[in-house]
Symmetry: C5
Subunit: 359 residues, 5 copies
């Protein structure tokens, strides 16, 4: 298993020396061709299908309909640029949309509310957590949702609800759709945390029962994962707070209640992360103690064996000397007496060890 990648902010190295608002895609291309899906719905009906860039640029947004542009794949800078231009998204925001290492944040500029989020999902193969960049541009009657490309399925239930008209989604204003997108992402963190919690529980048993170097690596990987998750969840608290405090154009009063619910979930996730972090720190200490414990066990065995046999070997050595005049050697009972003495010595030694609780 390879050590996970850190989330490294990639700004400078890739765009060093460019003017502040340069439009360059920063990150790895995760999808072959960008896909634009457009939803247009109101309480009565809902249309959706895949659009070409041409078609997307010609879509008319009207106040009586909510239009949701969902773009998967960010490496086609021109496509992103043109779509943003259509809705007069400022250049600095486009830069943030294209920079996949951007920190989650919210900005209210010009005519749009702009949200950057980070999507997390577990890579089944490598068991590691993968982060994905996602940005939402919320206008009066449209939403642009830019994704790196793979996380699509988190929004699947929202799409289904739009199509079938179940739930209250279709009856609500556009801010509710924005809330549902954010809610889908925040909710998905719970799954990640549960996976991490399960791993910690497994580690807890293993560390206490048989400490091995492999566990050390797992501990370290879990710490890195937790740090990554924290970096994704932490800014969300401020984001939701800021929306609630500063905005009265895009989010209606009535949606405030849902935002507070979202906020509660974020706090719960952060607390869980904190608890996991404490547990992992504890486990690392326990690992160290376990190893020391094992060393003690080994040392005891070594000491017991050595301490019993070295004096006995010495006695044998003495009577193995070739001095001419060693009266004991000629004695008829020399041998059995020496063997007896050896037995007594080892018996005493063992008694001492038992008393010291080494055996």
């Amino acid at each position: 298993m390879k050590a996970r990648r850190l989330i490294k902010p990639k700004r400078t190295s890739d765009k060093a020396g460019m003017p502040p608002e340069s439009l360059v895609f920063v990150g790895e291309q995760k999808i072959e061709k960008p896909v634009i899906t457009v939803f247009q719905y109101n309480a009565e009906h809902s249309d959706d299908r895949e659009y070409t860039l041409e078609e997307a640029l010609n879509v008319q947004t009207t106040p009586d309909k909510i239009t949701w542009f969902n773009i998967e794949g960010l490496h086609d800078v021109e496509l992103v640029h043109k779509l943003c231009d259509k809705f007069s998204v400022p250049a600095l925001l486009i830069e943030d949309i294209l920079n996949t290492s951007e920190r989650p944040k919210v900005d209210i500029i010009g005519d749009v509310l702009f949200i950057v989020l980070r999507m997390l999902w577990k890579d089944e193969k490598s068991e590691s957590i993968i982060t994905e960049h996602m940005s939402i541009v919320l206008g009066k009657d449209f939403i642009l949702a830019f994704q790196e490309g793979i996380l699509g399925d988190v929004f699947q239930p929202i799409r289904t609800r739009l199509r079938t008209g179940r739930g209250k989604l279709r009856k609500q204003k556009i801010d509710y759709l924005c809330y549902e997108l954010m809610d889908a992402i925040v909710d998905s963190y719970f799954g990640i945390l549960e996976t991490l919690g399960d791993k910690i529980e497994v580690l807890e048993e293993d560390v206490l029962v048989q400490p091995q170097t492999e566990l050390l690596r797992q501990l370290h990987d879990l710490r890195s994962d937790l740090l990554n998750v924290r970096r994704s969840v932490w800014p969300l608290r401020d984001i939701i707070n800021n929306i609630q405090r500063d905005d009265d154009t895009y989010f209606q009063k009535s949606t405030g209640f849902y935002l507070r619910d979202l906020y509660d979930h974020t706090v719960q996730e952060l607390e869980t992360i904190e608890t996991y972090w404490e547990l992992l720190s504890g486990l690392q200490d326990i690992y160290l103690s376990s190893i020391s414990n094992r060393m003690n066990e080994i040392m005891k065995v070594l000491t017991i064996i050595t301490t019993i046999f070295i004096p006995l070997s010495f006695i044998a050595g003495v009577y193995g000397m070739n001095f001419k005049y060693m009266p004991e050697l000629d004695s008829r009972y020399g041998y059995p007496i020496v063997i007896l003495v050896m037995l007594i010595i080892s018996f005493i030694m063992i008694r001492i060890f038992i008393k010291k609780k080494w055996m």
Copy 2:
């Protein structure tokens, strides 16, 4: 003994993709059949008995009486739903009532004040701490108290007081009943903390006297327990603060004094938790030091024995060589002289060890 369960937020994995206000029971069923108990009282008299759902739905709440619905068992979603509908509790709150992993919080929505708490009790068998979800819906003249099912006995004294009319409970308004319910739960934490404190005191002795792997596990379990308790108590401070600050509909001015008392107790519990946490961290370090200490003791024994006997054995080995021309071997006093030399060497060695305080 198995490692304790972490409190894992279970939201997504169980309800992934559902619309935000889906009503699903999240948790383990802890009671076979839900039990609804209804109290109706005022200063003069108090009625209470078990109700069927039908009866409960037909109960009339009147301003001159306080009505307390106590529901044990949350897995019957429909029952909870119908009862909440009767009092027009918003759907998002019902979702929180049904999610047993919800974080403690307070919300004032529509016509009710909504409180989520977490009950703790010690499982006598497994010695672990079990958490239980509990939510209170406070209306103008009714209280709905939803419990997972087993913690009933914490409220027993309140019931007795209602029946007998002792104390000032029956003479007070409904906010005082709500306060008493919260107080019963907060007070029960003290017992949990005392149990943990006793365990820590026992561990303190053990860690210093005889460090063993078993203690390591106990330390870790205590840390997990403390983290769980902290997660349950921590949000209470904010909850009480919020009620005091934001609410002037449900809680009267005069109850403020009792809330402040409750707040003081919460702070005292948090301080105790903090102190215990510090002590446990200290104990873990002491455990590690104790093990190292013990290793030192073992190493000393090994070194003393080895250092005394290896040179002696070497001497014996030398005179065990079979060279033809070894003049000492033929000497009349060779043997006693060698024995004497050996005695002198061991005497010197022992002196050195005593001087180094190894013996």
Copy 3:
């Protein structure tokens, strides 16, 4: 030496299920019979003697005199109750007076200002720090001071000053007496801290010179003591702040300056505690390092002895073999040559060890 007692909040376990304002004494009885001493003084004269409960209840408080009831011994619930009733102290406060595990706090309720403090003193015999509960009820012209029973001597200088009229105490209002009582307690903490500081200085030397298990226990005891002291001092900051901010009935503007002085002392004590805590943490790490260091020393001795003699013993063993055809054995110079070889080998070994700085 026994491990110290933690300050455990004892509320529930002793009073589980009682209504919130139950009047029960929680703690250990520390004095045989409660003693009531009453001081009545003004700038001109001062009376004081021991009163019976009867007499105490009949004392008339007048605005031109300050009356200080000092009650030592809290286990006589009825006595406390009656005295408090005389001055209409609310039931919830009486509960706090009787609960010796109550956290320090201040409350302004009804007609009184209520302060809970914790007194600390060093038990000469067990060397441990004992905490005692103390509460002050400050009315317009009276002070009730409830003590557990033994700490009396901290107030002795105040009594002497009242009797002799030295200092400005008799000329001041009642808030100044209250300040002096608090000041006496806060000042006494300095003594405790100095004792702890002395112990830390002794430990510092010992840990570096000769690390022993006994030190580990002392370190742990000091940490527990510090935690207890911190829990007693910490809330004082808020208490004094709250009095300064919220109260304009009981404390005069002119006493504010003295309160600020008290506050400064509290902060100074907290900083000292923090510093001691850091030093103790450092000492624990040093202890661990010292032990590892010692282990290194021991290992070096073992390794040197073993490494020198095992090869020599092997050589001796070789020439102790009984093969018929071993030409060296018959050589005239076999024995001296082998001895020479052994000397050379040990000389080289010693050189290597000296170069590695092991000797």
Copy 4:
């Protein structure tokens, strides 16, 4: 490799006893001769070339042009002094310009806004991070940028943009130039952080695979580097905040949006630093655990070998004794039986070790 230099504030030792506003250069001279470059530009054209001090002092600044004086090299105190005098920069600011250990800060005094920043760059040879002092004096229509001398190339792209007129720089007011200078510096931190992140990833592998003393040094160097970076980045948050909050003379409303972007980058950098710090702390613990692990491995080998052969050697020793009457020695099958016994003993030993998972 030599241990890195700490950033040590150098004020006193070099200027002890001087009056507060003494003008002395504090630091190491990093360039031979100071270089003054002057840019004068507006939307239409842009002039720039190297100036002598004489020429620079004669430059006329006019409201219709933006003049940027860039001074590389600070050791010529008189030069700095004269230039500052020309724009009536207060003496205390000149002191800060000349003190290369000054902490990053912002000050609005008299007619100028004064910013101190710290530039970071990686020394390719020593692999260490070098900090450089830089100060910006922003007036109504001029900017003085003082650099220690080498970091010039970070501003290169800005110069190019000024010359070519690409981007919106030339069309903007002077506050935008100031923002671009700050942005160039903040952006350059990302590169430093990425380098550090790469090193951490390499260390992660190494620590787990083969812990060596060299890694310990690398860990320590990385920690020092991170601390240095943090000290440079940390104050930037406050600086940008202060500019946004306090200033309405030098920075226009419209530039606020860019400042917020700058602020976001600073926060992102601080978070990255925090994460790296946590990872490094974890790595240090892992290093310690790895070493203990290795020691365990070594001890196991030692114990296995010793425990198997010492008893066998003892048996051989016994039958090497020279007693006259040892019946086994004369037995025909004595030798093969002893060899068999030895084999059985070692077989049992090995079984035990395998069961204990030591082999």
Copy 5:
């Protein structure tokens, strides 16, 4: 070297039971006889000489002159008392002037602004840091500066500037003199910090190269020193803040700029302390790791030697047995074959060790 003294607050133990405003000198006498120096100056001329108490009490302060009383030596309580009485300094402040363990603070009472500071200087002999108490009483046209007695030389440059009239000191108001006194003290901390920084750099090298117990003591001493410095610098931030916020009587608006500069220096010092603290914590961990590393090295040597020679010795032992029927012994090639076998075994062992990277 003796362990440093902690800064222990000495209030109670020395003055237990005294009324709050008792005037007792608390500390060690550091100078034989108190010295009073009086400066009287304005922009035109400046007088200064040593005064007797009599003379000092007769000095007339006038608004057109600034009078600075500098008192070195605090043990003469009466002298301090009389001087303070002359300027009606409140008794509680005199108490603070006399208590050398008082925490740095600022108070505005009656007609004076009162500042307590702590002076630090390095004792050349013991290499430890010595703290000294210093208090400033700032009135309308006079300053009383009380020093314990030795730190005089920090103010020397100020005296010289007063005498010579260099700098702007003589032209400024009295608050500027007060600022210069504080600035001299704050600036002197930089020197202390630089000394500590140098020691840390030396330690960094030593800990990595050769960990010894002596280093442990040095680490601990540095930690204690840093804690002491932090306790002296920390309160300064609040002091300066309070002066800026609360005072408009003693400090003029125009001096605010200098105070802000002082504040910046204090913050810079605190950051440096924080960084040093982190580095020291890291060094302690590294020390522990280094020791473990060394232990590993020693263990490897021991294990290699033991593991090679113990099996060989065993073989030698086998052929040293005295059995009558050992066919190998009589073989012509027994001896050379055994020697060969031994060589092969040791060769294999060495190969294994090299492969395991133990050699």
